[in-house]
């Protein structure tokens, strides 16, 4: 609240002082400077007043646009005794589309405030900039200084809370001295307080506690060529401020035309936001015309707030802030109902008017046809006219006056044609037309104007033909590039069948690589099967398999109660298992040496005893009788156990 009160105090005097200098000056001297020194660079120098009082600030503005590099190093020459404040520089870019080419222009707008110290008539300038290392200069300005207080009173401009041109107190910082009358009090007071900010300045909340930029674009959806308006506002929460170090928003996808190009001449308002008082000013208002369809973006604008309450983020650039990036959805006007001759971008509301002079000529002479397009929107660069043989329309001379009015771009463009008429008789020139799309109604319209008739008297053009002069005397006809070729095709022939390519078949590339891969895979499978069969055969012939087979045979023999066969099978199984386990051909070992031999080969004692016992049991089955002999079933189980234990030993060893 304290801050708000202080701001209010500052704002009041500032508003009073705004009655003093250049903002109240009514006359603007505008000089368009020719630029012979450097082609492609245009300079414009303006002064806020042609006459001022001694000590009064006069603002000088230099606008420089270049096709090449950006102008830089601006300088202003002033007579001795003058003091200069500034410069304050803002950059800008301009992109235009013409004849299929994008033209990119860069520029700067420079402001100085000059103060004179003695009366007289002075010449200011020329202001100069450097473009690509070359110095380009504008023209000089004439300024008349009169003694202080002798200038006629100037009308007050409301809404400017501070006076940037005051040499003594540009930001209203000086306190009122006790005992001295405030100079501002000499001005008649403004009865109604600060002007109320229009609705477009109002915001619900501040996005930054100190200062911020707000950008709006309307409408957010448009068609190619329709005007959308970009507005950028600056909000300062710490009292008055100045705009410094501005960088213009990029807008490469649009044609643009400035409506407000500087905040210097814009009214400033004080409005409450979130319970605080904010100073707001419109920085830019730019009419944009989309060049193509799509979601087009408008880049952020950067600006420095310079003032007593704003700490500098960068030296001499004030408190820097930037506006958000904006997007516009752009579509082409609908195809439905589009008239022939409509050119993309002709959007707005237009009327045509035409004038033809004279209405009576001799054949071979020309008449002047002036067609004037007037309306709002991007005023087209062309109109259509009726084509007919014997009437030759030369390229038009174009004059125009395109200006913003209530934030809408509009005006007129006049095309002055020289039309040569060769055929005698009463000739109807037909009409001039302009198809356009009206975004308000959403339909196409065609602006038309009748050109009327012209009476063409027999004259010089027909004389040679009438006299039968030789054709050789006439200028040679231009060479026809397509001479001898067929005429225009009046019928649409059959369409060639759509060509289907082999590679468009989904199976093509699969088969291409799949064939050899399939053969390779098949070969691999065959080889795999072969190896499996080989391995199976080897397994069939192994000692372990023999042992298992012998156990099976022993069981079968036991079932038959064939003791001899059981003994033979059990012996085969045990010997095969031993050979499989130890590589020991135990059949060749004497029975009495068998135990020691097995022990030497690492067979554990219990197993050795079981093996020997089993073999002894086999002898018993062969030779013993009655109760002495072991039962065949027991012998088989014993052998089976031995074979299994030996096999486990093999697996355990392998593991």
């Amino acid at each position: 609240m304290t801050s708000g009160t202080a701001d209010a105090k500052r704002t009041g005097p500032c508003r009073h002082r705004s009655a003093i200098p250049f903002y109240l000056t009514t006359m603007m001297v505008v000089i368009f400077a020719a630029s012979p020194a450097w082609a492609g660079t245009a300079l414009r120098t303006t002064a806020s007043a042609a006459q001022a009082e001694v000590g009064e600030g006069v603002q000088i503005e230099l606008s420089a646009m270049s096709d090449d590099e950006s102008p830089e190093s601006p300088r202003l020459q002033v007579p001795p005794g003058f003091t200069v404040q500034g410069p304050s520089i803002s950059s800008s870019q301009q992109i235009s589309f013409s004849n299929g080419h994008f033209e990119h222009r860069r520029g700067v707008t420079v402001h100085w405030v000059v103060f004179g110290t003695r009366p007289g008539r002075f010449v200011l300038g020329p202001a100069t900039v450097q473009v690509g290392g070359k110095v380009v200069q504008g023209e000089t300005l004439s300024l008349e200084l009169v003694p202080a207080g002798s200038a006629p009173p100037k009308p007050r401009q409301r809404g400017n809370p501070f006076d940037p041109t005051s040499p003594f107190d540009p930001f209203g910082m000086f306190p009122k001295l006790p005992g001295f009358p405030n100079l501002d009090d000499l001005d008649p007071p403004i009865p109604n307080g600060p002007p109320e900010a229009p609705a477009e300045y109002q915001v619900d909340h501040a996005t930054d506690p100190m200062a911020f930029l707000r950008a709006t674009i309307t409408p957010a959806e448009a068609v190619v060529g329709q005007q959308v308006t970009l507005r950028i506002y600056a909000y300062g929460g710490r009292g008055p401020y100045d705009e410094v170090g501005s960088a213009e928003p990029s807008r490469a996808d649009f044609l643009s035309q400035s409506i407000v190009d500087s905040s210097y001449r814009q009214p400033r308002y004080v409005l409450p936001i979130d319970g605080r008082r904010w100073t707001v000013v419109k920085l830019r208002e730019i009419a944009l015309f989309p060049l193509h369809a799509g979601t087009l973006s408008v880049g952020p604008m950067r600006m420095g707030f310079r003032g007593p309450g704003y700490p500098e983020t960068t030296p001499l650039k004030g408190l820097e802030r930037q506006s958000p990036e904006l997007r516009v959805v752009v579509r082409e006007p609908p195809l439905a109902g589009r008239p022939p001759g409509y050119e993309l971008g002709d959007v707005g509301s237009f009327t045509l008017a035409a004038e033809v002079e004279p209405r009576r000529v001799e054949a071979g002479d020309a008449v002047a046809v002036t067609v004037r397009v007037e309306g709002t929107g991007s005023v087209p660069h062309h109109v259509k006219h009726t084509e007919q043989r014997g009437v030759e329309w030369l390229d038009p001379t174009v004059t125009e006056a395109i200006t913003p009015s209530n934030s809408v771009i509009g005006g007129w463009r006049a095309f002055r044609y020289v039309v040569r008429l060769d055929e005698p008789g009463t000739l109807d020139l037909g009409e001039a037309t302009l198809p356009y799309f009206d975004p308000r109604t959403g339909v196409y319209e065609i602006a038309r104007t009748r050109l009327g008739t012209v009476e063409v008297l027999p004259g010089k053009a027909t004389a040679p033909a009438a006299s039968g002069a030789p054709a050789a005397a006439a200028p040679a006809a231009p060479h026809d590039v397509l001479e001898g070729l067929g005429q225009a095709r009046t019928k649409l022939g059959p369409l060639p069948p759509g060509k289907r390519h082999l590679t468009d078949e989904k199976a093509y590339f699969v088969l291409l690589a799949g064939g050899p891969c399939s053969v390779l895979a098949l070969g691999g499978l065959v080889e795999l099967g072969r190896r499996l069969r080989r391995r199976a055969a080897r397994r069939t012939a192994s000692q372990a398999a023999l042992a298992r087979r012998a156990i099976g045979e022993a069981r079968a023999a036991a079932d038959r109660r064939d003791s001899a066969s059981v003994a033979a099978s059990v012996e085969r199984a045990i010997y095969a298992a031993l050979e499989d386990r130890f590589g020991l051909k135990a059949r060749a070992v004497l029975r009495r040496d068998l135990a020691s031999t097995l022990s030497e080969n690492g067979v554990e004692g219990a197993l050795v005893a079981d093996i020997v016992a089993a073999l002894d049991a086999c002898d018993g089955l062969r030779f013993a009788s009655g109760t002495e002999a072991t039962s065949p079933a027991h012998a088989v189980e014993q052998a089976s156990s031995i074979v299994a234990r030996l096999a486990r030993g093999v697996r355990g060893k392998a593991a």
Binding site: N99, L335, G341, T386, V481, L485, K491, H501, L512, S518
Partner: protein
């Protein structure tokens, strides 16, 4: 009785409504007729020498998505005629070349279109030479030149033959015991594999180009190549003449990435006309 009499009345009403709906409903045939009418009007305008009017109508046809090689041919004639008249506009010959390019894309054996395109290109070269502009003949890169040696389908057939030979060679090598036959299999398989890899790759490249690169023609007197930031590139071969045929490979805003011969770069979309095709 009353009820029975009302049935024929309702039937008549229904029949009348159905007839009205059929007559008044805008059918596809009706839309086709309007396209045909627009074409007829354009041709009539061309015959009476109103080339601007003809061009407007042909362009409106193109805007509506209508494509026909004969309409493109007539559009080319209109542009060529205007290019040689007092009302010539920059890029008219380029637009004529683009229209003929469309005709030839759809109907490669159109003799008149071939001759017309050749003459228009010669005229562009002649005019550029007259104004002192150096014309740059750019041949495609070696890789694309090889791809362009044969038609895409021809490469595809060669690759298929290579694949078959590879299969046979592998089979002989794997399953035949006779040494001479196995040797023949190795040779056939090796050659087939080379054919398969080379021709298959070229067919795939050719297909990729057909599907992903859009042909376009320069329709300004001279287009300067840009970098991806939109800054102009200087040097030899960075100025594309009117009528130059390029391949558009990518788009970014108003810029398109093109390849022209061995050079890649960016151009403004407004300097090109993309060729419509079926």
């Amino acid at each position: 009785m009353t009820h029975q009499r009302s049935i024929p009345g309702r039937a008549w009403l229904a029949a009348a409504a159905l007839t009205a709906a059929v007559v008044l409903w805008p059918s596809p045939a009706k839309a086709g007729d309007s396209t045909q009418e627009l074409f007829d009007e354009a041709v009539a305008a061309l015959h009476r020498g109103a080339v601007d009017d003809a061009i407007d109508r042909f362009e409106l046809l193109a805007d509506r998505g209508f494509f026909h090689p004969d309409a493109s041919y007539d559009r080319a004639l209109a542009y060529a005629e205007r290019a040689q008249s007092h009302g010539a506009r920059p890029g008219d010959f380029g637009r004529a070349a683009a229209a003929l390019g469309e005709t030839l894309l759809a109907r490669p054996d159109d003799g008149d279109a071939k001759v017309a395109l050749e003459r228009i290109r010669q005229e562009i070269v002649r005019r550029r030479a007259r104004t002192g502009a150096s014309d740059v003949e750019l041949k495609p890169s070696l890789g694309w030149a090889v791809v362009g040696l044969l038609d895409e389908d021809t490469w595809a057939v060669i690759a298929a033959i290579g694949s078959f030979a590879t299969c046979v060679g592998l089979a002989l090598r794997l399953w035949v015991r006779s040494a001479p036959v196995r040797l023949a299999g190795v040779v056939a398989g090796s050659l087939g594999m080379v054919m398969l890899i080379v021709a298959g790759s070229l067919a795939a490249l050719s297909r990729s180009r057909r599907l992903h690169a859009e042909p376009a023609v320069v329709i300004v007197e001279e287009a300067r190549l840009l970098d991806e930031n939109g800054a102009t590139i200087s040097g030899a071969g960075t100025r594309l003449p009117e009528g130059a045929l390029v391949d558009v490979e990518d788009r970014r805003g108003t810029l398109v990435r093109i390849s022209w011969g061995t050079i890649d770069g960016w151009l403004s979309l407004g300097e090109l006309r993309l060729l419509s095709h079926q």
